[in-house]
């Protein structure tokens, strides 16, 4: 399944690129995940995707295939296996930045394959939440880029729930939760999370009867 997402931040391309490849700054914008290890351009992590009562936890690895700072293009392969269950999520994510002077548009193309229980249902009541997810990410990213301070806009820590925010370390779509993150993992984990969440929720464009 192919998914396309786009967002725009009112920040120049070079700064956006730098920010996107600096995990410590991107992490708080990212609907939660955990980094487990980093080894050069390869890293492992875990993601818990929650859609209402349904939870799917993936553990996986990702690696940069391409990181072109001149062309502002990165390609990432991510692969996650369900920790509890039999399924798999694999994504090839291409992120392309476009310089628009004072702003940058970011185009993300994801080639996603989901297998396991999550992929074996036909009832897709689902709107395309990729837009929502990336939108939240973009808003937080933009605020962060403009505000200058990392984690400035994050709303809650794990122990203090507020209306609309969820406690714990799972990804709740449309909610933003802060998590401390190590460097350089962000794009991969965005991909994995977005991919897993999107795939799980199924923008099932190709799955009509």
């Amino acid at each position: 399944m192919e998914l396309n997402n786009e967002f725009r931040v009112a920040v120049p391309a070079a700064k956006t690129w730098e920010f996107l490849t600096d995990v410590e700054r991107v992490a708080p914008c990212l609907p939660g995940a955990t980094l487990l290890s980093v080894d050069g351009d390869e890293f492992t992590g875990a993601v818990k995707v929650k859609v209402g009562p349904i939870t799917v936890s993936y553990k996986g690895e990702a690696a940069f295939q391409e990181k072109d700072a001149t062309a502002h293009r990165m390609v990432l392969r991510a692969n996650g296996k369900e920790t509890r269950g039999n399924g798999n999520a694999a994504a090839v994510v291409t992120a392309q930045l476009k310089d628009e002077g004072d702003a940058t548009s970011v185009v993300i193309t994801t080639d996603l394959t989901i297998s396991g229980k999550a992929a074996q249902f036909g009832r897709g009541v689902l709107a395309d939440v990729a837009g929502n997810l990336i939108g939240q990410f973009a808003k937080a990213l933009e605020a962060d880029l403009l505000g200058g301070a990392p984690a400035a806009q994050t709303t809650s820590t794990a122990s203090e729930p507020t209306a609309g925010a969820a406690a714990g370390d799972s990804v709740d779509l449309l909610k933003v939760v802060a998590m401390p993150m190590a460097k350089r993992a962000a794009p991969a984990l965005v991909a994995l999370v977005a991919g897993a969440a999107i795939g799980f929720l199924l923008g099932r464009r190709n799955r009509q009867s």
């Binding site: 859609v51 897709g124 009541v125 779509l173 009509q208």
Partner: protein
């Protein structure tokens, strides 16, 4: 299809249930009728270490008419709601919606609060709550609060309550004398999830102009939705001025993310949705006009 092991708790009072949720956090889930949760557990699509069964808490079961509202306890089974005379007189939209909920066995165990909290986009009571601007009562360690229906449904199977909040009741307003109500739903078979549906409430003033209108839509997004463009278009107008088909088209015109799935494309669903709104509008306005 055997669920993984879990601890089962059955509190007798709401306070106890609230304490349990606070204690276990994400590792606990409320169990009421179980008609949505248990299949998910059995298929291992989800797992919780603790289930907190609230189905026997007396204060959560009940139907009361008070101050122009019907207040229904969250653990009240669908069947009770559907059979209740006060509900039929005061909030007929609930009575009309009930027969569409699964099959009668499901309605005997499933609860109104459970269905609304589960927030399925094709849930009949959720669409009714949205159409009528119902109020959801939620209880947590921080006390009680009301959540208006339009803030409650936030995404697929997601509501705006915190993890430690329990839905304890829903209050549905009673509409005026010159009102009409209708529910039209299209499903593949009797009892199936709606492909698309509409719950319509309309109230007329003394000049037979529309004074109030609520159109709840099922199955047309990731949450139940309002057909706002249609509602806005009819306010102040006589029912003869707009055709049912126009209302149907208007109701779905602003929908951005109509689902496509095994049952059909987004275009197909939108068409069916418009037809359901049109049919429900015809019935509801006919009833209101004769009231």
């Amino acid at each position: 299809m055997k669920a993984a092991a879990f601890a089962y708790h059955r509190p007798d009072a709401v306070e106890e249930a609230v304490d349990l949720l606070a204690e276990f956090g994400d590792d606990a889930k409320i169990l009421a009728g179980g008609q949505s949760l248990v299949p998910m557990l059995a298929m291992r699509l989800t797992h919780f270490d603790n289930l907190v069964d609230i189905s026997r808490i007396d204060e959560l079961v009940g139907i009361d008419l008070c101050d122009g509202e019907i207040r229904i306890g969250a653990a009240t089974p669908h069947a009770f709601v559907g059979m209740d005379d006060e509900v039929a007189d005061s909030v007929p939209l609930l009575t009309l919606a009930t027969p569409y909920i699964g099959h009668f066995q499901i309605r005997t165990r499933g609860t109104l609060g459970g269905a609304i909290a589960h927030a399925d986009p094709a849930a009949e009571y959720a669409a009714v709550a949205l159409a009528l601007d119902a109020q959801m009562e939620a209880v947590s360690p921080r006390g009680t609060r009301d959540i208006p229906a339009k803030e409650f449904f936030t995404g697929l199977w997601e509501n705006s309550m915190a993890t430690d909040e329990i839905l304890t009741a829903v209050r549905f307003p009673v509409w005026g004398a010159r009102s009409g109500f209708a529910v039209e739903e299209f499903a593949r078979r009797h009892g199936d999830f709606a492909i698309a549906g509409a719950a319509v409430a309309v109230e007329l003033d003394d000049d037979s102009r529309v004074s109030r209108c609520g159109i709840g839509l099922l199955g047309l997004g990731s949450t139940p939705l309002r057909g706002s463009p249609a509602e806005e278009a009819v306010i102040g107008r006589s029912v003869d001025e707009i055709t049912a088909d126009e209302i149907g088209q208007l109701a779905i015109s602003a929908l951005a993310e109509i689902p496509a799935d095994l049952q059909g494309s987004a275009t197909y669903r939108a068409g069916v949705g418009a037809t359901m709104v049109a049919r429900a509008w015809k019935s509801a306005t006919a009833e209101a006009s004769n009231a």
